[in-house]
């Protein structure tokens, strides 16, 4: 009998536990999410208080030292036909392209370019790399004059001995370009099949030129990609090993030679003693590059570990796209540390926005009034607080740009008043009025598909609360990265759905892919005749008159913003932080279009380093 009671009690406990558990998730799901303000605590200010970087050095550069930088993800690819150029991080050190950004036009020289964004692609600011110069006789043809006297780097690997440091020939260049266009499964054939099929590459060994011809319809792509996005590789290595994907087969003309790579560990490079390049500007003009003896890329996926390593000088520079206020706020607020460091802030050109189907007639978003109503209802300024105030509001289609693209951007003050009003929400009455006018007096239901990291979820919750006030019921559907990417790529979200999307970088502005066309970057399925007119006009000036192209886009922007095709989300300021012993560096991020090989220009002041951190 006693045992029975014991049994009974135990079972009751189990059942209670189960019942409570099954009621559980519902209880925990109730979110309130209201924002309240408290007396005495005010919103944090917006000014970005950063030490400006030092002026270009007037001291003669020294040779020597090891430069260390951290990567957030493993290096997966060593061949840009296997993986995208963007992820072939090592190739920026070991290989070269036909053209590259002109360092002499950067802050170290004339200062007309800042070279901070990875996607900078102005042809008129480039200079020769493996090609000395180029000509464009007409739209559809570009002729490169190949540099003489460049040698492949000598190394002791099998591939290195195979090439044996011989001179680079026109045939090498032709081979590399053709390889990029014809490798099945390669980036070009998959992403730009029209260009890959239509491009014709011919080389002239007597005149040392390479001519690339393509159909006029592919001219914009050609100009954007061929000069500054294709790495030149030695044919015999590719012919022997199939591709360059094995790091041991790395052979290039670049400033550094890859000596070791441990997957998810470290990549080590040493200086190429036979590098052809010299310093074009400054007190070190004429010096043979590179200055540093060795480079190490440490793969540290954990963000706080990276920050700690930087803090004590184990890595010399922090500047990837994750370095925002949330990550390095500690360092930026530490006055003692900041007095020692150099910092530069910028806005990344690829920002997140909320896209919606403006093309479906049954969708409420096909009406401009509804879209404007949504923007009016949202408190976009409050999102800035997520980054402690250090964020920008107007980031679509162009984010606040560096000097090179200054002609594109329309500052907030210059926007027409009705457009400015859209960003000054929340304005519940105006929003409700517009909704009623569009035929939705009681609002409607929307589903938001989002990536379920804290940043996205918090911003989504904030939107949810704001929209509820005008009668729009927002349901948040948080997905993990892979699932969200799938929805984003397949672009099959419905008439009543929002989707977080990101936009293409500033270097592609001439192609206008953020607001026309069939690519995923046109998240809102925009198909607007005004845009098409502007695009046709743009096509006449691409590659010929950069200022005119920027002007065309500049004039289109107020119209696009008034249409409220996407809901922009304030983008945080990003930072480049570096220790002062890294000289001749002024916050650059890439020298041209995804060209991370700018390390050849700077030098390390080893005495200063020893003074500051002891070794």
């Amino acid at each position: 009998m006693k045992k029975k009671i014991g049994w009974l009690l135990f079972s009751l406990l189990l059942i209670t536990a189960m019942v409570l558990t099954s009621c559980g998730p519902q209880i925990v799901t109730t979110t309130k999410g209201e924002t309240k303000t408290i007396k005495g605590i005010t919103t944090i200010g917006q000014t970005v208080n950063i030490t400006p970087p030092p002026p270009p050095e007037s001291v003669k550069p020294q040779y020597g030292g090891t430069y260390r930088v951290a990567l957030a993800t493993d290096i997966l690819y060593f061949d840009d036909t296997v993986g995208t150029n963007v992820y072939c991080v090592s190739l920026g050190y070991t290989q070269e392209e036909l053209l590259m950004g002109d360092w002499a036009k950067g802050i170290a020289g004339t200062g007309e370019a800042e070279w901070m964004l990875v996607g900078t692609n102005r042809l008129d600011q480039k200079t020769g790399s493996l090609a000395e110069s180029w000509e464009i006789p007409q739209q559809g043809t570009i002729i490169f004059h190949i540099r003489k006297g460049v040698h492949w780097a000598k190394s002791n690997s099998d591939a290195g001995l195979l090439v044996n440091g011989r001179e680079v020939t026109v045939d090498d260049v032709v081979f590399s370009l053709n390889r990029a266009f014809t490798t099945k499964g390669g980036y070009f054939m998959t992403s730009y099949p029209g260009l890959a099929k239509g491009a014709v590459v011919t080389g002239d060994s007597t005149a040392w030129t390479v001519k690339v011809e393509c159909p006029v319809s592919e001219w914009v792509n050609c100009i954007n990609l061929v000069p500054d996005f294709l790495y030149i590789v030695p044919p015999e290595v590719v012919n022997k090993y199939g591709n360059m994907q094995d790091w041991k087969n790395s052979v290039g003309t670049g400033p550094f030679i890859l000596t070791n790579f441990v997957s998810n560990g470290t990549a080590s490079y040493i200086r190429n003693p036979n590098y052809w390049g010299t310093n074009p500007v400054g007190p070190g003009k004429g010096d043979q590059l590179p200055y540093v003896d060795a480079v190490q890329q440490l793969i540290i996926p954990d963000a706080s570990t990276r920050v700690s390593a930087f803090r004590i000088g184990k890595i010399d520079l922090m500047g990837d796209t994750t370095v925002n206020r949330i990550l390095v706020g500690d360092i930026l607020d530490d006055a003692t540390l900041m007095s020692k460091l150099n910092v530069k802030s910028y806005i990344y050109d690829s920002c997140y926005t909320l896209a919606m189907r403006t093309d479906k007639a049954e969708s409420p978003f096909s009406k401009k009034d509804v879209r404007q109503a949504i923007m009016l209802a949202l408190n976009l300024n409050a999102i800035k607080n997520y980054y402690k105030g250090y964020a920008e509001l107007v980031v679509w289609p162009i984010a606040p740009p560096p000097k090179e693209y200054a002609g594109l951007y329309v500052p907030f003050e210059e926007l027409p008043a009705n457009v400015q009003a859209l960003y000054k929400g929340p304005n519940v009455e105006a929003a409700k009025a517009l909704l009623t006018k569009a035929g939705y007096p009681t609002g409607f239901d929307v589903n938001l598909i989002t990536y379920n990291t804290p940043v996205f979820m918090d911003i989504s919750s904030s939107f949810q609360a704001d929209l509820a006030k005008v009668g729009i019921k927002l349901t948040i559907d948080g997905k993990d990265n892979a699932t969200w990417t799938g929805r984003y790529i397949s672009r099959n979200y419905g008439a009543n759905e929002f989707l977080w999307t990101s936009n293409a970088g500033i270097g592609t502005y001439t192609r206008m892919i953020n607001f026309r066309g069939t690519s995923t970057y046109n998240g809102s399925y925009i198909n607007d005749p005004v845009v098409e007119t502007a695009y046709t006009e743009m096509m006449q000036y691409v590659g010929i008159d950069e200022a005119k192209c920027q002007q065309i886009e500049h004039d289109l922007i107020p119209y696009l913003l008034e249409q409220a095709y996407v809901i922009p989300v304030p983008a945080a300021y990003l930072y480049k932080l570096w220790w002062p012993w890294v000289k001749n560096y002024n916050g650059e991020g890439s020298l041209g279009y995804y060209n991370v090989g700018y390390q050849k220009y700077f030098w390390l002041d080893l005495d200063l380093r020893k003074e500051m951190i002891g070794h």
Binding site: T84, V86, R311, K314, T483, I489, T520
Partner: protein, 330 residues
């Protein structure tokens, strides 16, 4: 005895077969396909429509054939699209869909790291757990027992990842020091390597020591209840002799189980420690491959881990059977 060994060995193969099928299939059920991730990667400001890209990528990766055909290809029993054989039977365990690197090489590069981490962790765990467990058993319910057990339980309770993060953040600010961020293989630089592994290893070991201590204590308590201990006691032997000579030796047999149960750690690594302390180990490989839905790598890693675990269990069982004749005749 022979029959027993052979029987157990056969069972391993069956289990292994089951494991490969489960591993192969289960990854494909996770939503969010590899193809979408890859397209997102390759898309890079392209203007062609996503359907075209999806189809072309799918075809390149060999995912446009039915699942059973992919499985047989992965086993290595069927040629790949270009005619070559690659897979389990070839020994290279397939190629990564993302980087085209051979899975076997990746695994071989990572195993020593997880192994070293695991060994340090197990040694720490045993060094901490044994003395405390034994002491708690022989002085049950005394102050020493309470302190010892509290300490061991605290080792489990205090989250390892919390301590690990703190070892990076606070010393950087206070002492201008962080644990190592560059990995040197043990053959290259022994002391740097040891320096990097000792902190995560000890932290892991401390976390494991709690369970080990509890098991040791239970084993010792059980043994101490036996009649022969009472006999030894009544014979007037000193406590040390009773404990060491009689109790400990008999308790050591089940200790083999304890170590056997920790073996998955040696091969599986600890994802959190590897992530925070920048160690390129097996746990990270598994996590990264799963996040990227890299099917061959996930299947390959699973196969390797399963084989090691099954073999380890087999060895443990054999040791048991050898030590305890009663088991052989089941």
């Amino acid at each position: 005895m022979q029959a027993y060994i052979i029987r157990r060995f056969m069972l391993i193969f069956i289990t292994l077969f089951l494991v490969t099928i489960i591993a192969f299939l289960s990854v494909r059920f996770i939503p969010g396909s590899l193809i979408d991730l890859m397209v997102a990667d390759r898309y890079r400001e392209s203007t062609i429509s996503s359907e075209e890209m999806l189809a072309s990528v799918k075809e390149q990766l060999g995912l446009d054939v039915p699942v059973w055909e992919q499985y047989v290809r992965w086993l290595g029993a069927w040629p790949q699209k270009d005619g070559s054989f690659s897979g389990v039977l070839e020994g290279d365990l397939g190629k990564s869909l993302w980087t085209a690197r051979i899975t076997r090489d990746e695994i071989l590069q990572r195993v020593p790291i997880s192994l070293e981490l695991g060994i340090i962790a197990i040694i720490t765990a045993l060094l901490v757990a044994f003395p405390i467990g034994i002491y708690s058993a022989i002085r049950q319910d005394t102050m020493g027992d309470y302190l010892g057990r509290s300490f061991a339980i605290l080792c489990i309770a205090v989250p390892g990842f919390w301590l690990a993060t703190m070892t990076y953040i606070y010393p950087a600010k206070w002492f201008n020091w962080t644990p190592a961020v560059i990995y040197y293989p043990i053959t290259e630089n022994f002391w740097a390597n040891l320096g990097q592994f000792i902190i995560p290893g000890v932290l892991m070991g401390m976390a494991m020591s709690g369970t080990t201590m509890r098991m040791t204590r239970t084993m010792m308590l059980e043994v101490l209840r036996q009649d022969y201990i009472r006999t030894a006691w009544s014979k007037g032997l000193r406590e040390r002799v009773v404990v060491v000579k009689h109790a400990l030796k008999n308790a050591l047999i089940p200790i083999v189980t304890i170590i056997g149960l920790q073996l998955p750690v040696l091969i599986g690594g600890s994802v959190i420690m590897e992530q925070i302390f920048v160690l390129p180990g097996m746990g990270r490989l598994m996590l990264d491959a799963l996040s990227a839905r890299d099917y061959p790598v996930v299947s390959g890693v699973n196969l390797v881990m399963a084989t090691v675990i099954l073999l380890a269990n087999f060895l443990v069982d054999m040791t048991y059977a050898w030590l305890d004749p009663r088991i052989r005749y089941r």
